[in-house]
């Protein structure tokens, strides 16, 4: 898997979001806020190289989630949402659509 499309979904409120691959920050967004009427905050691509895990973290909230990308087949889309005090992730073969 070369690249992954990351969609930040529900639960973000002026957050900083970092995506790490092999302990390196490969994407960083600040001021991330969800538009609740479409459940979308931001979207971007990250390069995975040969990594099979990826970390999403919200450093200001002390939240972190590790995503296992092994065995996800052709899925190239990662949805990330914050529910309560936890980061929820969802791997999808289809791009995330909003309405």
């Amino acid at each position: 898997m070369g690249s992954l499309h990351v969609a930040l979904l529900d639960g973000f409120e002026d957050d900083t979001v970092e995506v790490l691959v092999a302990d390196q920050v490969v994407a960083r967004r600040s001021g991330v806020t969800t538009m609740t009427q479409i459940s979308r905050a931001d979207e971007f691509d990250v390069q995975l190289g040969g990594a099979t895990t990826l970390v999403v973290r919200l450093p200001e909230r002390g939240l972190q989630a590790t995503v296992d990308l092994g065995g996800v087949g052709s899925a190239t889309n990662l949805g990330v949402a914050v529910t309560g005090d936890a980061i929820q992730t969802r791997i999808s073969a289809e791009p995330f659509r909003f309405a």
Binding site: E13, T34, M35, Q37, P95, A99
Partner: protein, 751 residues
């Protein structure tokens, strides 16, 4: 369209309207459905028939029924209307009865215009008890501190046969046997009016209808018909009118020919015939080609701009909603039509303040539901994404009945109009509510109260309340000992006029082993509750009046609703108070108060020390002394950065107790003015804190002072009487036993 037009009814014929509202044909000899809008107006012709659009003022207390026996209306001959107020006339009333027809929610709700330009909104769940009678408990009032003393209703419907006008007689009942009865006249099969205007970008074909059987993937029982967006909202309870459609030139989208939210908002102001910067039951539905976000955005309720939001919504035809059907789909054209139609209704639903199905419990930017809702990630509702459910789009439409969920229908039909009406409440504020499952004869009585004669609190004084849960049945009940802890499932709602509703959240959630106790009939359990602050900040800070209500959800599914307590926060007395308040109402100070102390949040501790010293005669000082003293009483562990080079980044450091300082602070908090402390902490928390101090003194070998603290508490609580209530003898006996057990060690002769 820029021209002003008269709206046209979506379905002109009355019988057609009734069919949409209730889904079955009505003609004699069948009786017409009872559901619909019923009204009553003050029977004097000089009273304006339409409400005068003046600002909403606080409700003026209605002194209740006129006891003089003036009969204003005899209804169907069975019930007599006795609702005339003695002082302030009730100018008009409406009820929405929802017991039959299309998607009945078994609910009645009402609006009562009391006094001068203020209204009370109430909601009750109903159970059918006869062919035309229903009973149920009132579980919602807006405003929550409204002078509306009723907690249950009985509804009797009348008429409905040929030439026999429909009526609904409602008997309201409250504590002490108080009752009022009102007979209402049937006005409409719909609960609200709304106008939908569909405009479209030049060259774009709007998708406002769908033939339900054009695609074979559908429920076997789904009727074959051509649905329209208007018809869907008629079935949700709205009298839908539609203004003529018109075109919008793509030039409004700017040079890139794709639309931003601001560009659509600008277009709405120009092309929507109903546009006005005010709340009104009307929505602009705009079919366009593409949004700036591109193919991945199928539609958006773009109007979260300015003070009047949710007036406009848009659907993008050149987006994923027009993507070809999957290979092998039996009706590819219908697949696309269906997706476009779903998007049209979905976006229009947002204009009615409906959130996505999986967002029902979500609070964002301080805005959310009034009570935590149940998320519905698998619901077959227009407000869910078909491609988000298990099994994807195919699974969704296999079970989709082209409707909203019950939770959404309850909201649109029965929530206070201001939450739903376009241009009124901001997007996502009060975006839905849960129908509390309150029974007419609840298992328990739940009371929230302040342990003082008037629920008035000094400025900066933490508002500590008491909860009392009483077994209201004739049978023993088993309850968890921690049933009244906020972190164990209590829902506490705090409202203040003009501000978003807040929920009191627990500062921490404890995982406890279940510990149950038997509650005999009429026996009660008690718990203190700090309402001022939680992890989401200060709930109660500024001077003013706050409403507080608690909902206890039982494992059986029953909801126990408390009374609505009105709490007053007094203004600051001096400019020094106001200056200190700037440092006091911070997140860290709130956290220290909620956690009963800290030895790491130094700035907050400094602020509380300054308050304890400078405002020593104020009630906030006793709270400050308590939270300053508690963490000093015992050894305190902190996580600190490790300065040793042993590979560990952090280490746990134990700060030694400072017993003398702790004793000074705690004695000052609890025994300096014990009556003030008992009143400010509430009896339950006061006793818990004195017992904590006693234990600390005992472990320090100071039996004499330990005895003294129990003795002071016994004397204080023995003398307390709040609104005619004394402290329970069992509690006083427990304190006396504890005190006497310390007597010999303290060198005191037992009394």
């Amino acid at each position: 369209m820029a021209i002003k037009v008269e709206p046209q009814p979506e379905t002109a014929a009355l019988t057609g309207s009734e069919e949409e509202a209730f889904g079955i044909p009505f003609w004699p000899p069948f009786r017409l459905a009872a559901s619909g809008l019923y009204t009553w107006r003050f029977p004097i012709s000089i009273i304006p028939r339409q409400p005068i659009p003046l600002p909403k003022l606080p409700p003026i207390p209605d002194p209740g029924p006129w006891r003089g026996g003036d009969v204003t209306e005899a209804g169907d001959g069975q019930a007599v209307d006795t609702a005339t107020s003695a002082l302030f006339p009730i100018l008009s009333e409406r009820i929405r009865l929802d017991v039959d027809g299309r998607y009945p929610q078994m609910v009645v709700s009402g609006d009562m215009s009391t006094g001068l330009f203020s209204t009370v909104h109430w909601i009750a769940n109903l159970t059918k008890t006869g062919s035309n009678t229903y009973v149920g408990a009132i579980w919602y009032r807006d405003p929550p501190v409204a002078p509306f003393p009723y907690d249950s209703v009985k509804v009797t419907t009348g008429g409905g046969w040929l030439f026999d006008p429909r009526t609904a007689t409602v008997t309201f009942s409250g504590p002490g046997g108080i009752q009022r009865t009102r007979t209402y006249t049937y006005t409409s099969p719909y609960f609200h009016d709304v106008d939908l205007e569909v405009d479209f970008q030049t060259g774009v074909t709007p998708a406002t209808s769908f033939a339900t059987c054009s695609h074979p993937n559908r429920p076997a029982t789904l009727p074959c018909e051509t649905l329209t967006i208007g018809k869907v909202f008629q079935r949700a309870g709205f009298n839908v009118t539609s203004s003529p459609s018109g075109t919008v030139p793509v030039a409004g989208a700017g040079a890139n020919a794709t639309w931003s939210n601001q560009e659509m908002h600008d277009a709405m102001q120009v092309y929507w015939s109903h546009y006005a910067p005010k709340a009104q039951w009307a929505t602009w539905i705009f079919f366009a080609a593409t949004h700036d976000m591109g193919h991945g955005l199928g539609g958006i309720m773009f109007d979260d701009i300015g003070p009047q939001q949710r007036q406009g919504t848009s659907i993008f035809i050149d987006s994923f909603i027009s993507d070809p059907a999957p290979a092998g789909d039996p009706a590819p054209a219908a697949f696309i039509d269906r997706m476009r139609f779903w998007t049209g209704v979905h976006e229009t639903g947002h204009a009615f303040n409906l959130a996505h199905a999986w967002q029902k419990s979500l609070t964002s930017g301080g805005k959310g539901p009034w009570l935590p809702l149940v998320d519905e990630p698998e619901s077959r509702s227009f407000m869910n994404y078909p491609y988000f459910v298990a099994g994807g789009t195919t699974a969704f439409f296999a079970d989709f009945e082209y409707r909203f969920s019950d939770q959404e229908l309850l909201f649109m039909r029965h929530a206070p109009s201001s939450f739903v009406q376009q241009g009124n409440a901001l997007w996502f504020d009060h975006h839905g509510f849960l129908g509390a499952n309150a029974l007419p004869e609840p298992t328990y009585q739940l009371v929230v109260r302040a342990n003082r004669d008037r629920p008035s609190f000094e400025f900066m004084e933490p508002v500590t309340l008491e909860l009392k849960l009483t077994n209201a049945t004739a049978q023993p009940q088993i309850v968890d000992e921690h049933i009244l802890d906020v972190d164990q499932g209590l829902v506490v709602i705090i409202t203040k006029k003009g501000e978003p509703t807040r929920q009191l959240l627990p500062i921490a959630r404890l995982c406890r082993q279940a510990s149950q106790k038997v509650l005999q009939p009429a026996e009660s359990v008690y718990a203190p509750m700090l309402a001022s602050v939680g992890p989401n900040g200060w709930n109660i800070s500024d001077p003013g009046t706050y409403g507080i209500q608690v909902c206890l959800h039982l494992p059986t599914g029953e909801d126990i609703l408390s009374n609505e307590l009105r709490v007053i926060v007094e203004p600051a007395r001096t400019t020094e108070d106001e200056t200190l308040a700037q440092d006091y109402f911070t997140e860290d100070v709130g956290r220290v108060i909620a956690l009963e102390g800290s030895r790491v949040l130094d700035t907050a501790t400094d602020t509380l020390t300054e308050i304890a010293d400078k405002l020593r005669h104020r009630r906030v000082a006793v709270h400050a002394n308590l939270v300053l003293g508690v963490p000093l009483a015992t050894e305190y562990k902190v996580l600190s950065r490790n300065r040793k080079h042993d590979g560990q980044q952090y280490r746990i450091e134990a700060l030694p107790a400072r017993p003398e300082e702790a004793k000074d602070r705690l004695v000052s908090a609890l025994s300096g003015d014990p009556t003030r402390s008992a009143e400010s902490f509430g009896h339950v928390r006061y006793k818990e804190s004195v017992d904590q101090l006693t234990g600390f003194l005992e472990s320090a070998g100071d039996a004499a002072d330990a005895y003294k603290q129990q003795d002071i508490m016994l004397e204080t609580l023995s003398g307390r009487e709040v609104r005619g209530r004394k402290v329970l003898d069992s509690v006083l006996k427990e304190i006396k036993t504890k005190r006497d057990s310390l007597a010999s060690a303290a060198g005191v002769k037992s009394r």
